[in-house]
Symmetry: C2
Subunit: 304 residues, 2 copies
């Protein structure tokens, strides 16, 4: 089980030459998700070797341009690449209408189906689930309806305690499936070997919480409690806390406070305002509150 | 009077790391126009030092994504930059609806007004005119409704033939305006000095024709006759003339044929298909028909 996050863009507002708006690529337990899709995301995907065909789910936090203006171009490129697989898009109500209209005026009729999962709830809800991963919304507080997303690996199967298993020659390979699924083993003698003796616990599951854009919001703490990795926006430093409040963004300090309250393992911050030249200051400010913090930079990969 | 074209993007279809879709910046007689606006155009504008505030007119040839998906991001950035001036957008019907919807869902309410000039005519028409420049459509033949654009400097004022003027001491500086406007000068003696004696002809006007995307279309020749610079798309080489015909694009040879028929001074080609690794082949193919040809490359400036 593994979790790897790739930062495709981590700056706020307008795209600049070396500062792309928000987009992230998440590989979690062999699932491949795109999170937010600012203008230029498809270019950043190519630059950082993200396979277009792997992505079947796209999660859009909110409908500010720096988080979704790249979506139509990516969808269009999927069509040009002759995609046939369904594409699932999760995001605020309105996304379907705007995307559909753009495809209509550009007469882009693709072979693949787009399935929209439009979000309206203000409560945290399960929006994706399969046998490997679940995705839950994290309601945020921004100028428009916004969700973060919590990605969690599901508990896998137990592992065989192979040394103990080998103590019982009559247990054969074909029995392993049942044992890993949690069943006890009954020997020919009738003796019951408890499953706990034959197995080790499954690997620890990993989790990732993406929170952008939002003002400081303690309500999210219970949802993101103990995650392995938290991305929390930090648009400003504390010198602009007033501006953060006004624009419903967070400071680096506030991001760190949320990380500390939620007892996460690691914090990654981004969405820096272009008014700051030196993003190291964001790390300094956050690290004073929460030590295990890193800065999002384009192309950075975080492996858990 | 001067004309300078800057290529911001010159590749077809999907954006790649070093291959941006169509966009051009034209400075003509102190007017500043943006022509087409594929995804990533605003990034390319920053990279190539195009001043955002200079642009008051944007011309969109057609509604395929590689020619307009960057428009909404640019408009949005104009808003973030606190633009207050009107913005005029010329392009096919549908552009207003799609842009307005995107601004609405992203709650981007800007201080500046956007004035849409939606085009529906299949005949060449004058769509912009002031005292310096005129812009006329060039109806093209593509899979969707498409126009090229002809940009022409207007004839300026005559120049003073200063040596001749100085032969008449009674002509004063305050008379120059009328003389440059074409009036004869009447001496105190009643003698008429003909305007031709006092002036030189105005500088030669410059013109630029932008033609993308289109199949080979000889009808456009009369419209673009004798222009100083012609951009004509060349998506394919002649080895794929069948594909050019099917997709309503042109080959490098066909672009050169149009340039030759129209007796233009210089041809610039672009919109290369990604299937070709070596774009020099486009130049070779075109030059066999029309010698004064150059290749569009990102950041290239052509000064007339």
């Amino acid at each position: 089980m593994s979790l790897e996050l790739t930062i495709l863009g981590c700056h706020s507002a307008t795209p600049r030459v070396n500062a792309h708006p928000t987009s992230q690529y998440l590989e979690i337990n062999n699932r491949h998700f795109l999170i937010d899709c600012g203008e230029g995301t498809q270019r950043q995907m190519r630059k950082h070797k993200v396979g277009f065909s792997k992505i079947n789910q796209i999660f859009i936090s909110h409908l500010h341009g720096d988080h979704f203006f790249g979506l139509i171009g990516l969808i269009s490129t999927f069509g040009i690449l002759n995609r046939e697989k369904e594409l699932h898009i999760y995001g605020p109500k309105g996304l379907k209408q705007v995307t559909t209209l753009q495809l209509k005026v550009s007469k882009s009729y693709s072979k693949f189906e787009i399935i929209y999962h439009e979000l309206i709830s203000k409560e945290s809800e399960l929006i994706f689930e399969d046998d490997k991963v679940s995705v839950t919304t994290i309601p945020l507080n921004h100028r428009v309806y916004t969700n973060g997303f919590l990605f969690k690996e599901k508990t896998g199967q137990k592992k065989l305690h192979i040394e103990n298993v080998q103590q019982y020659p009559e247990i054969e390979t074909c029995d392993y499936h049942n044992i890993k699924a949690g069943k006890d083993y009954i020997l020919e003698s009738g003796e019951v070997v408890k499953n706990e003796e034959l197995t080790l616990p499954p690997p620890k599951t990993k989790s990732y919480a993406f929170c952008s854009d939002t003002s400081y919001k303690e309500d999210i703490v219970p949802i993101i409690k103990n995650v392995d990795l938290l991305y929390h926006e930090a648009t400003f430093l504390s010198d602009r806390e007033d501006l953060a409040k006004k624009t419903k963004h967070s400071t680096a300090k506030q991001a760190a406070q949320i990380a500390a309250l939620a007892n996460v393992n690691q914090l990654i911050i981004g969405h820096y305002s272009s008014r700051y030249q030196n993003i190291e200051l964001f790390k300094e400010e956050a690290a004073a509150i929460f030590e295990n913090v890193i800065l999002a930079t384009e192309g950075k990969k975080v492996l858990i």
